[in-house]
Symmetry: C2
Subunit: 332 residues, 2 copies
Amino acid sequence: MNIVALAGGVGGAKLVDGLAEILPGDFLTVVVNSGDDFDHFGLRVCPDLDTVCYTLAGIANPDTGWGRNDETWNALENVELLGGPTWFRLGDRDLGVHLERSRLLAEGKSLSEICLWFCSRWDIKHLILPMTDDRVSTLVHSDEGELPFQDYFVRRRCEPEVSGFEFVGSSTAIPAPGVLKAVNEADLIIICPSNPWVSIDPILAVPGLREKIVENIHRQVVIAVSPIIKGETIKGPAAKMFREMGITPSAASVADHYGSIESGGLLSGYVIDNLDAGEQASMERLLIPIKITNTIMKNKLDRINLAREVLAFGRKLFSHRESPSRKDDDHN
Amino acid sequence: MNIVALAGGVGGAKLVDGLAEILPGDFLTVVVNSGDDFDHFGLRVCPDLDTVCYTLAGIANPDTGWGRNDETWNALENVELLGGPTWFRLGDRDLGVHLERSRLLAEGKSLSEICLWFCSRWDIKHLILPMTDDRVSTLVHSDEGELPFQDYFVRRRCEPEVSGFEFVGSSTAIPAPGVLKAVNEADLIIICPSNPWVSIDPILAVPGLREKIVENIHRQVVIAVSPIIKGETIKGPAAKMFREMGITPSAASVADHYGSIESGGLLSGYVIDNLDAGEQASMERLLIPIKITNTIMKNKLDRINLAREVLAFGRKLFSHRESPSRKDDDHN
């Protein structure tokens, strides 16, 4: 099976890591949110792309999930001494990546070209692509006004109450080279347990991406893994965002967000945590096949196990899809 | 006495450090070459300004003379891993300074404003000013063509043979706020033992600067300290440059370069090293009072001693200048 994973930062990177452990390089393409990208100190910083790459390269900070392992903070300490902004934690090793990426961008290289090059240097076997080479910037509408994403997420620690999201630049963005081809050729698309509002939606907002998935919906399998467990997230503001958008956060509300194929949405399958087994009944109305398993990834084995479960579930749904008689069964 | 020192990098910073140790804050202004400044990885790097400031702040690397003490190299190691350029050695602590300076420049602050602010954070009591807030870029004409200064100096390790120098942008540059005032009010101007071609000449090329010194030449004392000792330099390519420009490098050729007042030049006094005492006779034709002392600054005490000698020499020349009868003597 050809597999495409749509991923944001930490949670997405963990599942991608599990998938990468068990899938050969040619069979997995990861499309990463670049709506979080921003310019800081004149350097281009790509938090989700770097989190995914650092994780696959085995150089991520295991405690935070983002940033580099064995990191030092001497540059930022000097910025602080000079009275500069330190709310965005740029470590020294991490800075090296932003420096070289910014240099190559200024030379005219595209973000996806740079990503491919960096991945080759990091010995990453799987194809990692930003959703687009164009600038798409997530803007958070909040009770404190419009906030650029990192201002909301890091500087203001997700404290402002959100009322909506805008992906500035997305209407004219073009999917990065290779993205539409991978999506088109995928048998299974996995929506990682990333934030639906600000990690996955920006990817789906790039013109052609959602459309291509919808176009292929009857020959592809699309599975999401819920980032919400017992009404909360492991990390990040997804549950808080659902509440502020007037929706009770739950595994079901994430499924509603993406929508079932039957309702014109994307999902042909959905993975929820063992702790949410009791929610299954309330989701029957969605007519989405559900897999219940452990989705909490505390270590490498958890990542691999969840990846195996998602792949097995995907294979099962795909084989139903391929067999016309079984497909008829599904529709009965 | 009000004192202005014109300085480039390492050699200049050492004498400035000695001067700063013995002069109260209000009496010393240092005007620093910014012709070496360049953009690297999208960040503004100001090597001479930083060398002077790091030295006065007590945070310079004592072994190299440039860069920071107790430095780490994690950012640059990661640039290297990604195949990026590492010929310009940017340490992590040093990077913090470039990051914050670049951020403030992008905000619209001027280089001199930023320099004043950084100096206050570093607890530097003396006024350090870049020669200009405008971009002036030293271009080296060489047998390998025109090379931006850092390309010549660091990347090519001064190996190309030079045939001339150009200070691109200098014709329209304006002295940084405070520079002309300090020069105008100075009783003593000290040309530090920096490279005459690429450290001091760019300063003097900023319109108004050389003119102001020449205008005041009969009420100010201008003393240079030779950067050339026994035909060679302690550090840097000044001697090599003299040779390639067709001039035998010597203390005398530096004095010729700046010129005596009598010949329409700048110098009212000149300091040479004990090792060059034998050259004094050959410089008599220049009609410049000469002070012979130790100019090799191996440690803090050497810096302070040289500063004391230069100041004493300056005071002596200044008192001659002030006394009309003595002045007449000089002209006899």
